[in-house]
């Protein structure tokens, strides 16, 4: 078992900032992330509103934060397979496929991830018709028929952008109204390439080697319609990556961790920071702020 003063779970801007503050206070810090360190910021093409820095890519900003954390002595574990956590008690534990880590306090800064439908065919046909990124994959579907799943701003805006490539787009949405802004809804409705299947859900994706059709089920009468399509783009929002901590720490209905002004949760010694916690605004700067406060609170908690 490896011992630390504080374990930070999640290596986005919130987690890396917490790590920088804790390591600068000469604490032994582990930052563990189940994916690539940097969080969602690494996907941002250009960050222009981070004070003190000229415009740079999110990837560059996250790489700099990571190097900064490492330079102060943070141990960073990326692409970790976390198999268990213990949040209660005086010693908090994080178990991975390779090792068990223990500390007196922990900061949960796990961020969020794109929501998936959860169908077997969705995973099987990813990269062979199923996509989550219009910018990345839109041009593979030039002059073809595609389906867009979702009814928020992302789904509507991406559907419009995909009309540059696709012959025809069918937007499938589970409600009878959209969640997007009025201008995004209007832009989609006014585009002659886009049609809509409202109050409908995805039953399944068809195809062996690649997607050939999407089965859409009406929530009104239960009928299933097969929509021929070689592409399906899924934009159904983000969810906080807090599922492994459900029941261990208090969350709201959306799964966001509830914390107070000092980022303390209902569990002594457990703090939350970044997009995983309940809050109104989600920006790199607010994540950095959360990480700072969580680190200072954790230092206070361990009596440093």
């Amino acid at each position: 078992m490896k011992e630390y003063d504080v374990i930070v779970i999640g290596g986005g801007p919130a987690g890396l900032t917490a790590g920088i503050y804790l390591a600068r206070a000469r604490k032994r810090v582990l930052i563990a992330d189940q994916g690539t360190v940097g969080g969602q910021v690494i996907l941002t093409h250009a960050v222009a509103n981070y004070p003190g820095l000229p415009e740079l890519s999110g990837y560059q900003l996250a790489s700099t934060m990571k190097k900064q954390a490492e330079s102060f002595g943070c141990e960073i574990l990326s692409n970790a397979t976390i198999t268990g956590v213990t949040l209660e008690g005086a010693q908090k534990r994080l178990v991975t496929s390779d090792e068990t880590y223990q500390a007196r306090a922990a900061i949960i800064a796990v961020g969020g991830e794109p929501r998936k439908l959860g169908l077997e065919s969705e995973a099987r046909l990813r990269g062979r018709g199923i996509s989550y990124c219009a910018t990345c994959d839109g041009d593979f579907f030039t002059d073809e028929d595609i389906v867009v799943v979702g009814g928020g701003n992302s789904a509507l805006e991406e559907a419009v952008s995909l009309t540059e490539y696709a012959r025809k787009i069918t937007v499938v949405h589970q409600f009878d109204h959209f969640q997007g802004y009025a201008h995004a809804i209007a832009a989609a409705r006014e585009n002659s390439k886009i049609s809509f299947m409202m109050e409908s859900t995805i039953e399944d994706f068809e195809g062996e080697e690649s997607l050939t059709a999407v089965r859409v089920k009406s929530k009104v009468d239960g009928t299933v319609t097969t929509v021929p399509a070689t592409g399906a783009f899924i934009f159904i929002g983000y969810v906080p990556s807090t599922q492994p901590y459900a029941g261990m720490v208090k969350t709201n209905q959306a799964g966001e961790i509830i914390s107070d002004e000092s980022m303390a949760t209902n569990v002594p010694g457990i703090f939350a920071a970044g997009d995983a916690r309940q809050k109104r605004f989600r920006q790199i700067t607010t994540a950095v702020s959360d990480g700072t406060i969580a680190a200072l609170s954790a230092l206070e908690y361990i009596g440093a």
Binding site: G35, Y132, D137
Partner: protein, 115 residues
């Protein structure tokens, strides 16, 4: 045209041909800076810096560069419809190719299998 990652980049088809002719094991991730591509670059950076895969040359290549035609036109990539296209070369020939995002376990499993 190169990608803003911390990996070594391949910018021309000639460079790629030279690399796969000189190195026994080459992993090339050809993509953009999108949500399916970046995690794969991250895995490659980690594997490269771990020192456990010194027998593998890790490189990226910008999909939007015309030079990436070399990767795009590989027979193994013809059914691919999602970035990145990740290609594993063993002794100059394609040993495996994948489309879209792959996690660390998937990448290390392929490396273990083909290299």
């Amino acid at each position: 045209m190169t990608l803003p990652t911390n990996l070594k980049h391949i910018s021309t088809a000639k460079e790629l041909e030279q690399l796969i002719s000189e190195e026994e094991n080459v992993m090339v991730c050809c993509g953009r800076m999108g949500p399916m591509c970046v995690p794969v670059y991250g895995v490659m950076e980690e594997l490269e810096s771990s020192g456990e895969y010194d027998n593998v040359a890790f490189r990226d290549m910008a999909f939007d560069s015309p030079e990436s035609d070399y990767i795009r036109k590989l027979p193994e990539c013809q059914n691919f419809r999602g970035l990145p296209f990740t290609v594993y070369f063993k002794n100059g020939t394609v040993a495996k190719a994948t489309s879209s995002v792959q996690n660390k376990d998937q990448v290390t499993s392929i490396i273990g299998e083909v290299f």
